[in-house]
């Protein structure tokens, strides 16, 4: 048995993940490698150290749809969804490849020694990571591999790296993985005064809005704005559902401000959604006319750019900056011992129970009232109530047994998905009609394109009536007795206090 050096390579590696660490949460990171033979991309597991789906590329990959059809794309699609890959770290790597040969000169194991240096760090100190020796077995030569490991262990006395190079590198530049999540993850205790908890919820939501601002401004992907809007909506739900806890003047002022934020972010979000749907729209068309829809894409792009610019101006406006500063200051200001506000000193659990229970009953009532002839507005109203219920359950999740509340959240989710589908299609049809008119008047769009949009609308209408038909059974599944009992058991207030918070 002896060892031969095969090559020394100088590589530049950049590691990517989405802003909300989706790939890291799935146990990996995307590694881009630039070497003499070109650029390649692969999935790297954090631990155990393994790579997957290596593919050579010749352009920058931002979104999963930039990748050609391959196993890497297949794995990434459900994880990354619409999020952009953003660079985390860039390193220089010197890799020495070695092979271990037996007496027939057959490769029985592969070794490589990698020396990594982190680039572009602001720290003046050189960020050289400890060198790593990788040993890779060859299938069917396990006994030899054990011997090799023994040699490494006993004669070289190296430490086993159970952390993995990527984590080590992230730690070296103080990058904290999974530091952002769009989940609230609040840990509440049932006896705390609701005024304290409410401030914490609202603070956490403000924080979420603020961490997403940069991504919105640079238009990195559509999800920054989406998360921002969810934080805004959740804040509105908190304000609307938990009353008598903030001073009336504050409550009125900020309820208006949040309404304003909903308005200024709407148009860009709508266009984002249509752009994301565009591929599906195109696919819904018969092959020969698919390309006719392309001008519509440029129309959407143009307007997205315009609306996005407006949105950025709003976010940089004095009005927005003053609002967030004032909101932060209010939420952080110390609370006085005494209060004249009627509900401020209620216990969190009481408020949670009564508000959730109230909303459950509303959802059931609204849902039961819907018949085949109900106008779309009724479904819209129900969807809004479901969202409020969902947000309330998210706020107060930690007060309830995990398994039970998760089960009910999932039940609600299923109903929400159906309603969401219906409502989305409804809105899409309306907006597509508006866009169609707008396109016609703006640029004198070709008839072919208008016809293509019409076909898309027709297909959507068919789907809408299909989804609408499904509503009854979906709602019945939600409102079945088993679920009602579960909702009641978990949330129905022991003492009837719910009139307090109406």
């Amino acid at each position: 048995m002896h060892c031969e050096e095969l090559h020394t390579k100088v590589l530049q590696r950049t590691y990517f993940d989405s802003f909300d660490w989706r790939i890291y949460c799935a146990g990996g990171v995307i590694e881009e490698e630039i070497g003499t033979s070109g650029v390649s991309l692969r999935w790297r597991n954090v631990v155990p150290i393994e790579t997957f789906g290596n593919i050579s590329i010749n352009k920058k990959i931002r979104f999963v749809w930039d990748l050609p059809v391959c196993s890497l794309r297949e794995r990434l699609e459900p994880i990354l969804d619409v999020r952009a890959l953003l660079p985390l770290l860039c390193m220089n790597c010197q890799a020495h490849g070695l092979i271990v040969l037996n007496k027939d000169k057959k490769t029985v194991a592969r070794l490589s020694i990698e020396e990594n240096r982190i680039l572009g760090s602001t720290k003046s100190k050189s960020l050289k990571l400890p060198a790593i020796l990788y040993a890779e077995s060859v299938k069917g030569y396990d006994t030899v591999f054990k011997e090799i490991l023994q040699v490494i262990d006993q004669q070289l006395a190296l430490e086993v790296d159970d952390q993995g190079m990527v984590q080590r590198a992230m730690a070296a530049v103080e990058l904290q993985p999974a530091s952002y999540s769009s989940n609230l993850n609040l840990l509440l205790s049932p006896e705390t005064h609701i005024e304290v908890v409410m401030r914490n919820i609202l603070l956490r939501l403000l924080e979420m809005m603020q961490v997403n601002e940069r991504g919105i401004r640079s238009n990195l992907d559509s999800e920054f704005l989406h998360d921002f809007r969810i934080a805004v909506r959740r804040s509105r739900t908190a304000l609307g559902q938990i009353k008598g806890v903030l001073p009336h003047k504050i409550w009125v002022r900020f309820s208006r401000k949040f309404e304003w934020l909903g308005e200024i972010t709407g148009p860009t979000r709508d266009l984002d959604v249509y752009l994301l749907n565009f591929v599906a729209y195109k696919k819904s068309l018969p092959l020969p006319v698919r390309d006719d829809l392309d001008p519509f894409y440029y129309f959407l792009m143009k307007h997205q750019t315009i609306e996005h610019k407006k949105l950025v101006m709003h976010l940089e406006s004095a009005r927005y900056i003053k609002m967030t500063a004032a909101w932060l200051a209010y939420l952080k200001a110390p609370l006085s011992e005494r209060t004249t506000l009627p509900n401020a000193h209620c216990s969190t659990l009481d408020v949670a129970n009564s508000r959730i229970w109230h909303m459950v009953r509303r959802v059931v009532k609204e849902g039961e009232a819907i018949s085949a002839s109900s106008p779309p507005g009724d479904l819209h109203q129900l969807r809004k109530s479901c969202k409020k219920l969902r947000y309330l359950m998210d706020f107060f999740r930690s007060l309830y047994p995990t398994e039970e509340i998760n089960k009910l959240i999932n039940t609600l989710k299923l109903l929400q998905n159906k309603l969401g589908q219906y409502q989305d299609i409804h809105i899409q049809i309306a907006s597509l009609e508006t866009y169609r008119t707008q396109m016609k008047s703006e640029s004198g769009a070709a008839d072919r394109t208008l016809v293509a949009i019409d076909i898309v609308i027709q297909t959507l209408e068919q789907r809408q009536s299909h989804v609408r038909k499904m509503f009854k059974s979906r709602f019945a599944a939600f409102a079945e007795i088993k679920n009602r009992v579960a909702f009641r058991r978990l949330f129905k207030p022991k003492i009837q206090k719910d009139t307090l918070f109406q």
Binding site: N54, I99, Y141
Partner: protein, 247 residues
């Protein structure tokens, strides 16, 4: 997973050279590739520097409960694995006679790899036997290297007849000319005007070249030591053509 068998009733026609070189080319493109050496002579194993030996021999190989996984050896090339031959394979016919569904045994063993490999190459021993019937049942493609001589053409007819009689309609039989020496008048004649009976004949021909013979000395695939030679380029063309047939 596609199973490609290199087969001919005749010996010494370039079956092993084809299996080894094509398997290497497939793996070089990143396809997960396995080559299985079914010939007790163990030539393919030899080319990959793997001992032609299996612990327990034929019995271990055919034990459908255990599976073939334990027998796999990684080669010197990434993405290319091998199941070596064993001298006991000379008795494979006798062994198969005694099992249930004797012609479907190999297929049953290989089906387990469906998710592990993109291509499986079978390097087959010459002659027509129960082993070859197993190969026909297992393979998607039967690649038939054929030396352009009268006798070779005759054996090809025998093979087609056999396939017809045994209802092997799903098997794609692809003959191609191998070890072609254009200085020989007969080779020239047959290659330039191939007989109609060679149905499915591929366009690529593999020339007779001493570079190929050197595989035995180098114990490596042709493209690793003479990547630009005529025969190496011919194997690349052959592989492209086969992939086309599969798509």
């Amino acid at each position: 997973m596609k199973i490609i068998a290199c087969y001919n009733i005749k010996g010494g026609v370039g079956k092993t050279a084809t299996a080894v070189n094509l398997a290497y080319l497939a793996s070089r493109e990143g396809a997960r590739t396995l080559i299985m050496d079914l010939d007790p002579q163990g030539a393919a194993s030899f080319y990959f520097r793997v001992k032609p030996k299996i612990k327990g021999g034929l019995k271990t190989l055919m034990d459908s409960k255990q599976g073939l996984d334990e027998l796999i050896k990684g080669t010197d090339y990434a993405d290319l694995d091998l199941i070596p031959a064993d001298f006991s394979f000379r008795n494979m016919d006798l062994f198969l006679e005694d099992v249930k569904k004797p012609t479907r045994r190999l297929r049953k063993l290989l089906i387990n790899f469906d998710n592990d490999y993109d291509f499986v190459f079978l390097d087959c021993p010459p002659s027509i036997s129960l082993v070859s019937e197993n190969v026909f049942q297992a393979a998607d493609i039967l690649l038939v290297p054929t030396i352009p001589t009268i006798l070779s053409l005759r054996t090809y007819d025998q093979l087609l007849k056999f396939c017809k009689e045994n209802n092997l309609d799903d098997l794609l039989v692809l003959p191609f000319f191998s070890m072609v020496d254009m200085r020989k008048q007969l080779h020239r004649m047959i290659v330039e005007k191939p007989p109609k009976t060679l149905a499915g004949l591929l366009n690529t021909t593999i020339p007779y070249a001493s570079d190929v013979e050197r595989m035995g000395l180098n114990r490596a695939a042709l493209a690793t030591y003479a990547p630009k030679c005529r025969a190496a380029l011919a194997y690349e063309l052959l592989w492209d053509e086969i992939k086309e047939c599969m798509s």
